[in-house]
């Protein structure tokens, strides 16, 4: 008896050691998660990889555009209107850099007067740009002083620097894309997850509501809405608010598909074992949803997100092009495209008006599409099956 008990204890000890060893080993092994798999697949596509790099670059450059030594994007200088890149008059003051930011004050004024004028002009510029960009402009002033880049890609019909307008326009366009998409993400995911998770009659009604909204062509209603919003807001509120309202409106109409997609995913997830297990262990609705259901929806959401951003940006460009979106002195890529088309005439071709803004908008949208496609290929399990079958 004694002997066997002894053996039993020793076996238990060995088992414990064995278990510890196994656990240690397991801790060393990194499993292939969905995300690491996806990352690997995404990296294996050069087009998607380079597109992502390009997008990050475009985003960083346009976000920090106020820090760059650019001419103010709204500064009209009629003596320099419609100049091609590196045209003779632009080269006078220097090939790449010249003095005269934010404005040139020539004539009889004394040194101090000119300094004061310059400071006043800079204050106006900062006030126009808003808090964040304003602060960046001040930093820029302390770094570069009154140096600025000559208009490297030419000037427009009012002699404004096209490069500066493209980068500042990129700020607005990319910001619209991101903020509006986030708004649609927030509404869509919340709505879809709730509807799918609660299920039953609530789900039925909520989805019916989405169906109804689907059948309304919102683009036309938004245009209709912008009619009033523009008229009213010029009277009451500042410009910053208007752009914000604009973002929110655009975001608020793009949540429908997101809600449907998320709901479908949640429906298929909510009876899976791990969700049931969490419920049995006493997890509340909120806990189960946030901790177990939503993380599994994220891959689909992410794919849909990258495909929404270009659509939203297109929509912003579309509205701004029609003159119903962002208003001067703000710029966006849609507005630049409209300016370019307006300036087309058979007598003189201002090719740089058309080329550079189109290039900026086109390459960004193209890159977003490539990244979206790449992500979808990397994350979509259905496609994976398809590929395996082939």
């Amino acid at each position: 008896m004694v002997e066997s008990a002894h053996v039993g204890r020793r076996a238990a000890v060995r088992d414990d050691r064995e278990l510890e060893r196994l656990l240690e080993e397991a801790a060393k092994v990194r499993g292939n998660t969905l995300w690491s798999d996806a990352r690997r697949r995404f990296r294996s596509s050069p087009v998607a990889r380079w597109s992502l790099r390009f997008l990050i670059l475009a985003f960083v450059v346009s976000f920090f555009a106020p820090l760059l030594p650019l001419a103010p994007h709204a500064r009209v200088r009629l003596s320099e209107k419609t100049l091609a890149p590196f045209a003779e008059p632009l080269r006078q003051d220097g090939l790449f850099f010249r003095h005269g930011w934010p404005e040139r004050f020539d004539g009889g004024a004394s040194e101090e007067d000119r300094d004061a004028l310059r400071r006043a002009a800079m204050d106006r510029l900062c006030a126009d740009a808003g808090v964040i960009a304003g602060a960046m402009i001040r930093v820029r002033a302390s770094i570069f002083g009154d140096f600025e880049l000559t208009p490297l890609v030419g000037t427009d019909v009012l002699g404004r620097c096209l490069l500066s307008r493209i980068l500042w326009g990129g700020r607005v366009s990319l910001m619209v894309g991101i903020v509006a998409t986030l708004v649609s993400l927030l509404i869509g995911v919340t709505y879809g997850a709730f509807s799918g998770y609660v299920g039953g009659r609530v789900d039925q009604y909520m989805m019916r509501f989405v169906d109804v909204l689907y059948s309304i062509p919102f683009i036309f209603i938004v245009i209709f809405l912008m009619t009033f919003l523009r008229a009213q807001q010029t009277a009451t509120t500042g410009r910053g608010d208007k752009i914000l309202v604009f973002f929110v409106i655009i975001g608020a109409i793009y949540w429908l598909t997101m809600a449907r997609v998320v709901r479908g995913q949640v429906l298929s997830l909510k009876h899976r074992e791990f969700v049931e297990a969490s419920k049995v262990l006493g997890g509340g609705t909120w806990h189960v949803l946030m901790r177990h259901v939503l993380p599994n929806v994220m891959s689909v959401v992410l794919v849909y997100l990258t495909l929404t951003i270009p659509r939203v940006m297109l929509f912003e460009a579309f509205l701004s092009f029609l003159g119903l979106g962002v208003e001067p002195p703000d710029v966006s890529w849609g507005m630049l495209a409209a300016d370019a088309l307006g300036a087309i005439n058979p007598l003189r071709v201002y090719w740089w008006f058309v080329l550079f803004p189109s290039l900026a908008l086109g390459s960004t949208l193209l890159a977003l599409n490539f990244v979206g496609d790449g992500l979808r290929d990397a994350l979509d399990p259905r496609l994976m099956e398809k590929r395996a079958r082939r």
């Binding site: 309304i216 209709f224 009619t227 086109g362 949208l365």
Partner: protein
């Protein structure tokens, strides 16, 4: 039964759009007569009484709805002298429809051809370049395409008129610009659909019984391969209508798109609302047609609700 339900659904949508736009219109301060110049308050009041703007909102709502439903009357334009909204819409609609129809034809013709060709040449150089072109067509907004095409075909090689409305030559460039993004989508969808279908057993059967390649592709595969395209037609029509706002503006075509944008910029409430309703009606009736056409292409689909 199906038709009746769909028509009711359509009427419901129109009513909803009408209600939303009506209350948006009335809910925001600043009437159609408030402008930069100060109008004398008395004159303003008389104007408002004349157009029934002084009554309670619900009364106005009822009256406007009644006018619209019983007489099909959108009321007078608030900004364009001597025109009723009905006149303007009746004038603009045929032009916009012509433009939209040609654009749709271009989208389908180009798209299906490109899709079938690239599906048959799968993986080849032609396939890849066509699909790259399609991605570009999807990504680029139509005004970018338009400005490039104008630069080439109007300014550099003066083949086509730059803008305006008249003979069919005025239609070519705008229709191409309008149809291009949708041609790109259709090409992608056709390619995927054809690839799916070409792998099916019944295609192998058709080949096995000795049919020519052309016959297999055109009569057997194409019908199934076009199903995804058919379901895309609804969104495509909506997109073409939206795109026509921009294209009509670029090419100065006096269609409803131009009126709509102008009315939005001028704050011409009645015209703007008429356009919104017209667009809604167009989009939903096209969706209905598409659903019906779907059953013709695929007999397995049954119509319900």
């Amino acid at each position: 039964m199906f038709l009746l339900r769909r028509l009711l659904w359509m009427a419901g949508t129109l009513w909803l759009v009408f209600t939303i736009s009506f209350f948006l219109m009335r809910g925001i301060p600043g009437g159609p007569f408030s402008s930069d110049q100060k109008t004398h308050p008395l004159i303003l009041e008389r104007l408002e009484r004349k157009y029934g703007l002084a009554e309670p909102v619900l009364v106005q709502y009822g009256r406007t709805l009644k006018d619209l439903v019983l007489h099909g009357d959108f009321g007078p334009s608030f900004k364009l002298l001597d025109y009723s909204v009905n006149d303007l819409l009746a004038q603009g609609l045929p032009r916009s429809l012509a433009l939209g129809a040609v654009a749709l034809l271009i989208a389908l013709g180009l798209g299906v051809t490109a899709g079938v060709v690239s599906a048959l040449r799968r993986g080849g150089l032609l396939d890849r370049s066509l699909m790259l072109l399609a991605t570009m067509g999807i990504a680029l907004p139509n005004f970018v395409i338009a400005s490039v095409l104008i630069l080439i075909f109007v300014i550099q090689i003066p083949l086509l008129p730059a803008a305006g409305w008249g003979s069919y030559r005025y239609l070519i460039l705008p229709a191409i610009c309008l149809g291009a993004p949708f041609a790109a989508y259709v090409a992608r969808l056709t390619r995927t659909g054809m690839l799916d279908v070409l792998g099916q057993d019944w295609i192998r059967t058709a080949r096995a019984k000795g049919l020519s390649d052309r016959r297999v592709v055109l009569t057997h595969a194409l019908r199934g391969g076009l199903l995804p395209v058919a379901s895309y037609l609804g969104p495509a029509v909506a997109g073409i209508l939206t795109g026509s706002l921009v294209i009509e503006k670029i090419f100065a075509i006096p269609g409803i798109g131009t009126y709509f944008v102008q009315s939005a910029l001028n704050r011409d409430y009645t015209l703007s609302m008429g356009c919104v309703l017209l667009y809604t009606a167009l989009v939903s009736s096209m969706n209905l047609l598409v659903d019906i056409s779907y059953t013709i292409l695929d007999p397995r689909v049954e119509l319900d609700g």
